[in-house]
Symmetry: C2
Subunit: 220 residues, 2 copies
Protein backbone atom coordinates (compact mmCIF):
# COMPACT_ATOMS: atom_id res chain seq x y z
CA UNK A 1 0.00 0.00 0.00
CA UNK A 2 1.50 3.27 -1.13
CA UNK A 3 0.82 6.76 0.09
CA UNK A 4 -0.40 9.54 -2.14
CA UNK A 5 3.10 11.01 -2.08
CA UNK A 6 4.85 7.77 -2.91
CA UNK A 7 2.55 7.33 -5.87
CA UNK A 8 3.43 10.77 -7.14
CA UNK A 9 7.12 10.03 -6.90
CA UNK A 10 6.69 6.80 -8.84
CA UNK A 11 4.68 8.52 -11.51
CA UNK A 12 7.24 11.29 -11.83
CA UNK A 13 10.11 8.82 -12.08
CA UNK A 14 8.16 6.87 -14.68
CA UNK A 15 7.68 9.93 -16.88
CA UNK A 16 11.28 11.08 -16.48
CA UNK A 17 12.46 7.58 -17.38
CA UNK A 18 10.85 8.00 -20.80
CA UNK A 19 13.67 10.40 -21.63
CA UNK A 20 16.69 9.26 -19.63
CA UNK A 21 17.57 5.80 -18.39
CA UNK A 22 18.84 6.82 -14.98
CA UNK A 23 16.58 9.36 -13.35
CA UNK A 24 18.46 11.95 -11.32
CA UNK A 25 17.62 13.39 -7.94
CA UNK A 26 17.55 16.98 -9.13
CA UNK A 27 15.25 16.15 -12.03
CA UNK A 28 12.77 14.55 -9.66
CA UNK A 29 13.02 17.49 -7.27
CA UNK A 30 12.30 19.98 -10.02
CA UNK A 31 9.36 18.02 -11.37
CA UNK A 32 7.85 17.51 -7.91
CA UNK A 33 8.44 21.11 -6.85
CA UNK A 34 10.45 20.03 -3.86
CA UNK A 35 14.08 20.02 -2.70
CA UNK A 36 16.75 17.48 -3.63
CA UNK A 37 17.26 16.60 0.03
CA UNK A 38 13.61 15.59 0.31
CA UNK A 39 13.95 13.50 -2.81
CA UNK A 40 16.91 11.62 -1.37
CA UNK A 41 14.82 10.76 1.68
CA UNK A 42 11.94 9.45 -0.37
CA UNK A 43 14.20 7.61 -2.78
CA UNK A 44 15.66 5.61 0.08
CA UNK A 45 12.21 4.69 1.27
CA UNK A 46 11.04 3.59 -2.16
CA UNK A 47 14.23 1.57 -2.61
CA UNK A 48 13.67 -0.19 0.71
CA UNK A 49 10.16 -1.05 -0.41
CA UNK A 50 11.55 -2.57 -3.58
CA UNK A 51 9.86 -0.09 -5.89
CA UNK A 52 13.03 1.42 -7.34
CA UNK A 53 16.67 0.44 -7.77
CA UNK A 54 18.92 3.00 -6.25
CA UNK A 55 22.71 3.39 -6.18
CA UNK A 56 23.94 6.43 -4.33
CA UNK A 57 24.85 9.31 -6.62
CA UNK A 58 23.78 7.28 -9.65
CA UNK A 59 20.07 8.07 -9.84
CA UNK A 60 17.23 5.58 -9.87
CA UNK A 61 15.29 3.20 -12.10
CA UNK A 62 11.91 1.64 -11.45
CA UNK A 63 11.71 -2.04 -10.58
CA UNK A 64 9.03 -4.18 -12.21
CA UNK A 65 6.72 -3.57 -9.25
CA UNK A 66 7.44 0.14 -9.22
CA UNK A 67 6.80 0.41 -12.93
CA UNK A 68 3.52 -1.47 -12.64
CA UNK A 69 2.36 0.87 -9.91
CA UNK A 70 3.31 3.87 -12.03
CA UNK A 71 1.50 2.54 -15.08
CA UNK A 72 -1.62 1.94 -13.00
CA UNK A 73 -1.58 5.56 -11.94
CA UNK A 74 -1.07 6.77 -15.50
CA UNK A 75 -3.98 4.57 -16.58
CA UNK A 76 -6.23 6.02 -13.89
CA UNK A 77 -5.19 9.58 -14.66
CA UNK A 78 -5.95 9.23 -18.33
CA UNK A 79 -9.24 7.39 -17.89
CA UNK A 80 -10.45 10.09 -15.52
CA UNK A 81 -9.46 12.72 -18.08
CA UNK A 82 -11.60 10.97 -20.67
CA UNK A 83 -14.47 10.91 -18.21
CA UNK A 84 -14.15 14.61 -17.49
CA UNK A 85 -14.08 15.57 -21.16
CA UNK A 86 -16.49 13.04 -22.64
CA UNK A 87 -19.06 12.90 -19.87
CA UNK A 88 -18.77 16.12 -17.91
CA UNK A 89 -17.89 18.41 -20.83
CA UNK A 90 -14.66 19.74 -19.45
CA UNK A 91 -12.25 21.28 -21.95
CA UNK A 92 -8.94 19.53 -22.59
CA UNK A 93 -7.08 22.30 -20.83
CA UNK A 94 -9.18 22.02 -17.66
CA UNK A 95 -8.77 18.39 -16.72
CA UNK A 96 -5.23 17.98 -15.52
CA UNK A 97 -5.46 19.17 -11.92
CA UNK A 98 -8.64 17.27 -11.12
CA UNK A 99 -7.30 14.09 -12.71
CA UNK A 100 -4.19 14.57 -10.60
CA UNK A 101 -6.39 14.02 -7.56
CA UNK A 102 -8.66 11.36 -8.97
CA UNK A 103 -5.72 9.18 -10.04
CA UNK A 104 -5.10 8.28 -6.41
CA UNK A 105 -8.48 6.71 -5.72
CA UNK A 106 -7.62 3.14 -4.92
CA UNK A 107 -10.44 0.82 -6.01
CA UNK A 108 -9.51 -1.53 -8.86
CA UNK A 109 -13.18 -2.31 -9.45
CA UNK A 110 -13.88 1.39 -9.93
CA UNK A 111 -11.33 1.73 -12.69
CA UNK A 112 -12.41 -1.39 -14.53
CA UNK A 113 -16.01 -0.22 -14.51
CA UNK A 114 -15.06 3.31 -15.47
CA UNK A 115 -13.04 1.93 -18.37
CA UNK A 116 -16.05 -0.05 -19.55
CA UNK A 117 -18.42 2.88 -19.04
CA UNK A 118 -16.18 5.00 -21.25
CA UNK A 119 -16.06 2.33 -23.94
CA UNK A 120 -12.47 1.23 -23.34
CA UNK A 121 -10.85 4.35 -24.79
CA UNK A 122 -7.32 3.91 -26.13
CA UNK A 123 -6.22 7.53 -25.86
CA UNK A 124 -6.90 10.41 -23.51
CA UNK A 125 -8.05 13.93 -24.51
CA UNK A 126 -4.46 14.91 -25.32
CA UNK A 127 -3.84 11.87 -27.50
CA UNK A 128 -1.76 10.02 -24.91
CA UNK A 129 -2.26 6.26 -24.95
CA UNK A 130 -4.20 4.63 -22.12
CA UNK A 131 -2.74 1.30 -20.98
CA UNK A 132 -5.29 -1.51 -20.69
CA UNK A 133 -5.84 -3.38 -17.45
CA UNK A 134 -2.89 -5.65 -18.26
CA UNK A 135 -0.82 -2.47 -18.53
CA UNK A 136 -0.30 -2.79 -22.27
CA UNK A 137 -0.15 0.36 -24.36
CA UNK A 138 -1.41 0.47 -27.91
CA UNK A 139 1.48 1.18 -30.25
CA UNK A 140 1.43 4.70 -31.56
CA UNK A 141 3.46 6.27 -34.33
CA UNK A 142 3.76 9.99 -33.88
CA UNK A 143 5.80 12.57 -35.73
CA UNK A 144 6.27 16.08 -34.43
CA UNK A 145 4.61 18.63 -36.70
CA UNK A 146 7.94 20.45 -36.86
CA UNK A 147 9.43 17.44 -38.64
CA UNK A 148 6.99 17.61 -41.55
CA UNK A 149 8.34 19.04 -44.81
CA UNK A 150 6.46 21.49 -46.99
CA UNK A 151 3.65 19.71 -48.80
CA UNK A 152 3.37 16.86 -46.29
CA UNK A 153 0.13 16.30 -44.44
CA UNK A 154 -1.29 14.32 -41.55
CA UNK A 155 -3.76 14.20 -38.69
CA UNK A 156 -3.31 15.85 -35.34
CA UNK A 157 -3.31 12.97 -32.88
CA UNK A 158 -1.58 14.32 -29.81
CA UNK A 159 0.28 17.07 -28.00
CA UNK A 160 3.47 16.82 -25.99
CA UNK A 161 2.69 19.77 -23.76
CA UNK A 162 -0.30 19.90 -21.46
CA UNK A 163 -0.21 23.43 -20.10
CA UNK A 164 -3.49 25.26 -20.17
CA UNK A 165 -2.19 28.31 -22.13
CA UNK A 166 -0.74 26.07 -24.82
CA UNK A 167 -3.92 24.03 -25.18
CA UNK A 168 -6.13 27.12 -25.20
CA UNK A 169 -3.93 28.56 -27.93
CA UNK A 170 -4.36 25.47 -30.09
CA UNK A 171 -8.09 25.52 -29.47
CA UNK A 172 -8.30 29.12 -30.66
CA UNK A 173 -6.44 28.20 -33.86
CA UNK A 174 -8.71 25.20 -34.42
CA UNK A 175 -5.84 22.79 -33.97
CA UNK A 176 -7.62 20.04 -32.08
CA UNK A 177 -7.30 16.25 -32.15
CA UNK A 178 -8.46 14.55 -35.30
CA UNK A 179 -7.99 17.61 -37.51
CA UNK A 180 -6.34 17.08 -40.89
CA UNK A 181 -3.50 19.49 -41.64
CA UNK A 182 -1.01 20.13 -44.41
CA UNK A 183 2.23 22.07 -44.19
CA UNK A 184 2.14 24.75 -46.84
CA UNK A 185 5.35 26.58 -45.97
CA UNK A 186 8.17 26.73 -43.46
CA UNK A 187 9.46 30.26 -42.89
CA UNK A 188 13.23 30.60 -43.22
CA UNK A 189 13.41 33.58 -40.93
CA UNK A 190 12.05 32.18 -37.65
CA UNK A 191 11.23 28.59 -38.51
CA UNK A 192 7.52 29.22 -38.05
CA UNK A 193 5.22 26.89 -39.91
CA UNK A 194 2.39 27.78 -42.26
CA UNK A 195 -0.29 25.12 -42.28
CA UNK A 196 -3.52 24.55 -44.06
CA UNK A 197 -6.41 23.33 -41.97
CA UNK A 198 -10.02 23.12 -43.16
CA UNK A 199 -9.17 25.41 -46.10
CA UNK A 200 -7.81 28.10 -43.80
CA UNK A 201 -4.20 29.13 -43.48
CA UNK A 202 -2.73 29.28 -40.02
CA UNK A 203 0.75 30.28 -38.93
CA UNK A 204 2.24 28.72 -35.86
CA UNK A 205 5.58 29.28 -34.16
CA UNK A 206 8.33 26.72 -34.20
CA UNK A 207 7.79 26.24 -30.49
CA UNK A 208 4.14 25.35 -30.98
CA UNK A 209 4.93 23.08 -33.93
CA UNK A 210 7.34 21.11 -31.74
CA UNK A 211 4.55 20.09 -29.41
CA UNK A 212 1.92 19.00 -31.91
CA UNK A 213 2.00 15.31 -32.76
CA UNK A 214 0.95 14.10 -36.16
CA UNK A 215 0.08 10.70 -37.46
CA UNK A 216 1.45 11.04 -40.91
CA UNK A 217 -0.28 9.90 -44.06
CA UNK A 218 2.52 10.90 -46.42
CA UNK A 219 2.28 13.51 -49.15
CA UNK A 220 -0.89 14.16 -51.07
Amino acid sequence: MQSYTEENYLKTIYHLAEKTTNVQTNAIAEQMQTKPASVTDMIKKLAEKGLIDYVKYQGVTLTETGKNTAIDIVRKHRLWEVFLVDKLNFKWDEVHDVAEELEHIKSVELIERLDEFLGFPRTDPHGDPIPDKNRRFAKTQFIKLIELKTGESGTITGVSQHSSPFLKHLEKLGLTLGKQIQVSDVTDFDGSVEIRISDKQVNISREVAKHILISSNGKN
Copy 2:
Protein backbone atom coordinates in the same frame (compact mmCIF):
# COMPACT_ATOMS: atom_id res chain seq x y z
CA MET B 1 -8.23 24.89 2.84
CA GLN B 2 -8.80 21.79 4.91
CA SER B 3 -6.87 18.56 4.99
CA TYR B 4 -8.40 15.20 4.24
CA THR B 5 -8.35 14.46 7.97
CA GLU B 6 -9.95 17.72 9.01
CA GLU B 7 -12.73 17.10 6.53
CA ASN B 8 -13.37 13.68 8.02
CA TYR B 9 -13.60 15.12 11.50
CA LEU B 10 -16.09 17.75 10.36
CA LYS B 11 -18.19 15.17 8.60
CA THR B 12 -18.20 12.91 11.64
CA ILE B 13 -19.16 15.76 13.95
CA TYR B 14 -21.90 16.76 11.54
CA HIS B 15 -23.42 13.27 11.58
CA LEU B 16 -23.13 12.89 15.34
CA ALA B 17 -24.77 16.29 15.77
CA GLU B 18 -27.89 14.89 14.12
CA LYS B 19 -28.45 12.93 17.32
CA THR B 20 -26.98 14.99 20.13
CA THR B 21 -26.50 18.73 20.38
CA ASN B 22 -23.10 18.68 21.98
CA VAL B 23 -20.83 16.16 20.35
CA GLN B 24 -18.48 14.42 22.77
CA THR B 25 -14.83 13.58 22.39
CA ASN B 26 -15.31 9.87 22.95
CA ALA B 27 -18.11 9.65 20.42
CA ILE B 28 -15.90 11.23 17.78
CA ALA B 29 -13.02 8.94 18.69
CA GLU B 30 -15.17 5.85 18.37
CA GLN B 31 -16.62 6.92 15.04
CA MET B 32 -13.23 7.83 13.61
CA GLN B 33 -11.53 4.70 14.93
CA THR B 34 -8.98 6.71 16.82
CA LYS B 35 -8.14 7.61 20.43
CA PRO B 36 -9.76 10.36 22.50
CA ALA B 37 -6.39 12.04 22.97
CA SER B 38 -6.02 12.42 19.22
CA VAL B 39 -9.51 13.86 19.01
CA THR B 40 -8.71 16.50 21.62
CA ASP B 41 -5.71 17.59 19.57
CA MET B 42 -7.71 17.90 16.39
CA ILE B 43 -10.63 19.59 18.12
CA LYS B 44 -8.34 22.35 19.31
CA LYS B 45 -7.07 22.86 15.82
CA LEU B 46 -10.55 23.01 14.29
CA ALA B 47 -11.64 25.43 16.99
CA GLU B 48 -8.67 27.71 16.24
CA LYS B 49 -9.64 27.67 12.60
CA GLY B 50 -13.17 28.72 13.51
CA LEU B 51 -14.80 25.55 12.24
CA ILE B 52 -16.20 24.39 15.57
CA ASP B 53 -17.09 25.90 18.92
CA TYR B 54 -15.31 24.14 21.71
CA VAL B 55 -15.43 24.49 25.48
CA LYS B 56 -13.12 22.17 27.36
CA TYR B 57 -14.85 19.08 28.70
CA GLN B 58 -18.14 20.24 27.13
CA GLY B 59 -17.90 18.76 23.67
CA VAL B 60 -18.18 20.62 20.37
CA THR B 61 -20.67 22.11 17.92
CA LEU B 62 -20.08 23.12 14.33
CA THR B 63 -19.91 26.79 13.45
CA GLU B 64 -21.68 28.03 10.33
CA THR B 65 -18.48 27.63 8.32
CA GLY B 66 -17.81 24.20 9.76
CA LYS B 67 -21.33 23.07 9.01
CA ASN B 68 -21.12 24.33 5.45
CA THR B 69 -17.91 22.43 4.89
CA ALA B 70 -19.48 19.28 6.31
CA ILE B 71 -22.56 19.61 4.13
CA ASP B 72 -20.38 20.05 1.06
CA ILE B 73 -18.66 16.78 1.87
CA VAL B 74 -21.96 14.99 2.44
CA ARG B 75 -23.16 16.33 -0.89
CA LYS B 76 -20.09 15.07 -2.67
CA HIS B 77 -20.26 11.69 -0.99
CA ARG B 78 -23.86 11.14 -1.99
CA LEU B 79 -23.48 12.39 -5.54
CA TRP B 80 -20.55 10.05 -6.09
CA GLU B 81 -22.65 7.18 -4.72
CA VAL B 82 -25.33 7.94 -7.28
CA PHE B 83 -22.67 7.98 -9.98
CA LEU B 84 -21.30 4.62 -8.90
CA VAL B 85 -24.71 2.97 -8.83
CA ASP B 86 -26.45 4.65 -11.76
CA LYS B 87 -23.55 4.86 -14.17
CA LEU B 88 -21.04 2.22 -13.14
CA ASN B 89 -23.54 -0.41 -11.98
CA PHE B 90 -22.22 -0.81 -8.47
CA LYS B 91 -24.59 -2.35 -5.95
CA TRP B 92 -25.84 -0.18 -3.08
CA ASP B 93 -23.74 -2.14 -0.62
CA GLU B 94 -20.51 -1.62 -2.58
CA VAL B 95 -20.31 2.14 -2.86
CA HIS B 96 -19.52 3.43 0.59
CA ASP B 97 -15.76 2.97 0.76
CA VAL B 98 -15.07 4.36 -2.68
CA ALA B 99 -17.33 7.37 -2.07
CA GLU B 100 -15.44 7.90 1.16
CA GLU B 101 -12.37 8.63 -0.94
CA LEU B 102 -14.07 10.48 -3.77
CA GLU B 103 -15.76 12.92 -1.40
CA HIS B 104 -12.43 14.64 -0.79
CA ILE B 105 -11.75 15.65 -4.38
CA LYS B 106 -11.70 19.40 -4.21
CA SER B 107 -12.97 20.88 -7.48
CA VAL B 108 -16.27 22.74 -7.16
CA GLU B 109 -16.67 22.69 -10.93
CA LEU B 110 -16.40 18.90 -10.91
CA ILE B 111 -19.26 18.49 -8.48
CA GLU B 112 -21.55 20.91 -10.24
CA ARG B 113 -21.01 19.13 -13.53
CA LEU B 114 -21.37 15.72 -11.95
CA ASP B 115 -24.65 16.83 -10.39
CA GLU B 116 -25.90 17.93 -13.79
CA PHE B 117 -24.64 14.76 -15.48
CA LEU B 118 -26.61 12.71 -12.98
CA GLY B 119 -29.76 14.77 -13.53
CA PHE B 120 -29.70 16.61 -10.19
CA PRO B 121 -30.65 13.61 -8.06
CA ARG B 122 -32.36 14.41 -4.76
CA THR B 123 -31.50 11.20 -2.95
CA ASP B 124 -28.61 8.75 -2.94
CA PRO B 125 -28.83 4.97 -3.41
CA HIS B 126 -29.76 4.53 0.26
CA GLY B 127 -32.51 7.13 0.16
CA ASP B 128 -30.51 9.81 1.95
CA PRO B 129 -31.20 13.33 0.71
CA ILE B 130 -28.57 15.11 -1.37
CA PRO B 131 -28.21 18.81 -0.54
CA ASP B 132 -28.23 21.10 -3.57
CA LYS B 133 -25.36 23.45 -4.34
CA ASN B 134 -26.84 26.01 -1.94
CA ARG B 135 -26.68 23.30 0.72
CA ARG B 136 -30.46 22.95 0.97
CA PHE B 137 -31.92 19.52 1.66
CA ALA B 138 -35.25 18.43 0.26
CA LYS B 139 -37.66 17.82 3.12
CA THR B 140 -38.26 14.16 3.69
CA GLN B 141 -40.86 12.46 5.85
CA PHE B 142 -39.75 9.01 6.90
CA ILE B 143 -41.29 6.54 9.31
CA LYS B 144 -39.42 3.50 10.55
CA LEU B 145 -41.01 0.30 9.30
CA ILE B 146 -41.13 -0.89 12.91
CA GLU B 147 -43.55 1.93 13.67
CA LEU B 148 -46.15 0.72 11.16
CA LYS B 149 -49.16 -1.07 12.58
CA THR B 150 -50.67 -4.21 11.10
CA GLY B 151 -52.53 -3.35 7.92
CA GLU B 152 -50.60 -0.17 7.23
CA SER B 153 -48.60 0.16 4.04
CA GLY B 154 -46.04 2.38 2.41
CA THR B 155 -43.04 2.61 0.13
CA ILE B 156 -39.48 1.79 1.06
CA THR B 157 -37.60 5.06 0.61
CA GLY B 158 -34.52 4.69 2.74
CA VAL B 159 -32.37 2.76 5.17
CA SER B 160 -30.76 3.97 8.37
CA GLN B 161 -27.95 1.45 8.29
CA HIS B 162 -25.41 1.24 5.50
CA SER B 163 -23.43 -1.86 6.36
CA SER B 164 -22.87 -4.22 3.50
CA PRO B 165 -24.32 -7.32 5.26
CA PHE B 166 -27.51 -5.46 6.12
CA LEU B 167 -27.96 -4.14 2.59
CA LYS B 168 -27.21 -7.53 1.03
CA HIS B 169 -29.80 -9.07 3.33
CA LEU B 170 -32.45 -6.60 2.19
CA GLU B 171 -31.51 -7.19 -1.42
CA LYS B 172 -31.99 -10.94 -0.98
CA LEU B 173 -35.44 -10.37 0.49
CA GLY B 174 -36.36 -8.02 -2.34
CA LEU B 175 -36.62 -5.08 0.03
CA THR B 176 -35.13 -2.38 -2.16
CA LEU B 177 -35.92 1.31 -2.59
CA GLY B 178 -39.23 2.10 -4.23
CA LYS B 179 -40.84 -1.19 -3.30
CA GLN B 180 -44.41 -1.08 -1.97
CA ILE B 181 -44.96 -3.02 1.27
CA GLN B 182 -47.78 -3.74 3.68
CA VAL B 183 -47.46 -4.97 7.25
CA SER B 184 -49.57 -8.11 7.54
CA ASP B 185 -48.65 -9.12 11.07
CA VAL B 186 -46.43 -8.27 14.03
CA THR B 187 -45.31 -11.30 16.01
CA ASP B 188 -45.91 -11.03 19.73
CA PHE B 189 -43.11 -13.41 20.64
CA ASP B 190 -40.07 -11.60 19.21
CA GLY B 191 -41.54 -8.49 17.64
CA SER B 192 -40.59 -9.66 14.15
CA VAL B 193 -42.65 -8.22 11.33
CA GLU B 194 -44.50 -10.08 8.63
CA ILE B 195 -44.81 -7.99 5.48
CA ARG B 196 -46.37 -8.41 2.08
CA ILE B 197 -44.28 -7.31 -0.86
CA SER B 198 -45.16 -8.00 -4.50
CA ASP B 199 -47.67 -10.65 -3.39
CA LYS B 200 -45.03 -12.52 -1.41
CA GLN B 201 -44.88 -12.81 2.37
CA VAL B 202 -41.59 -11.97 4.02
CA ASN B 203 -40.66 -12.10 7.68
CA ILE B 204 -38.07 -9.70 9.00
CA SER B 205 -36.59 -9.31 12.47
CA ARG B 206 -37.37 -6.34 14.66
CA GLU B 207 -33.78 -5.22 14.24
CA VAL B 208 -34.10 -5.13 10.45
CA ALA B 209 -37.48 -3.38 10.63
CA LYS B 210 -35.92 -0.61 12.71
CA HIS B 211 -33.60 0.34 9.92
CA ILE B 212 -36.00 0.40 7.00
CA LEU B 213 -37.52 3.80 6.28
CA ILE B 214 -40.99 4.10 4.84
CA SER B 215 -42.80 6.95 3.25
CA SER B 216 -46.23 6.17 4.48
CA ASN B 217 -49.37 6.29 2.42
CA GLY B 218 -51.70 5.34 5.23
CA LYS B 219 -53.92 2.28 5.33
CA ASN B 220 -55.36 0.76 2.21
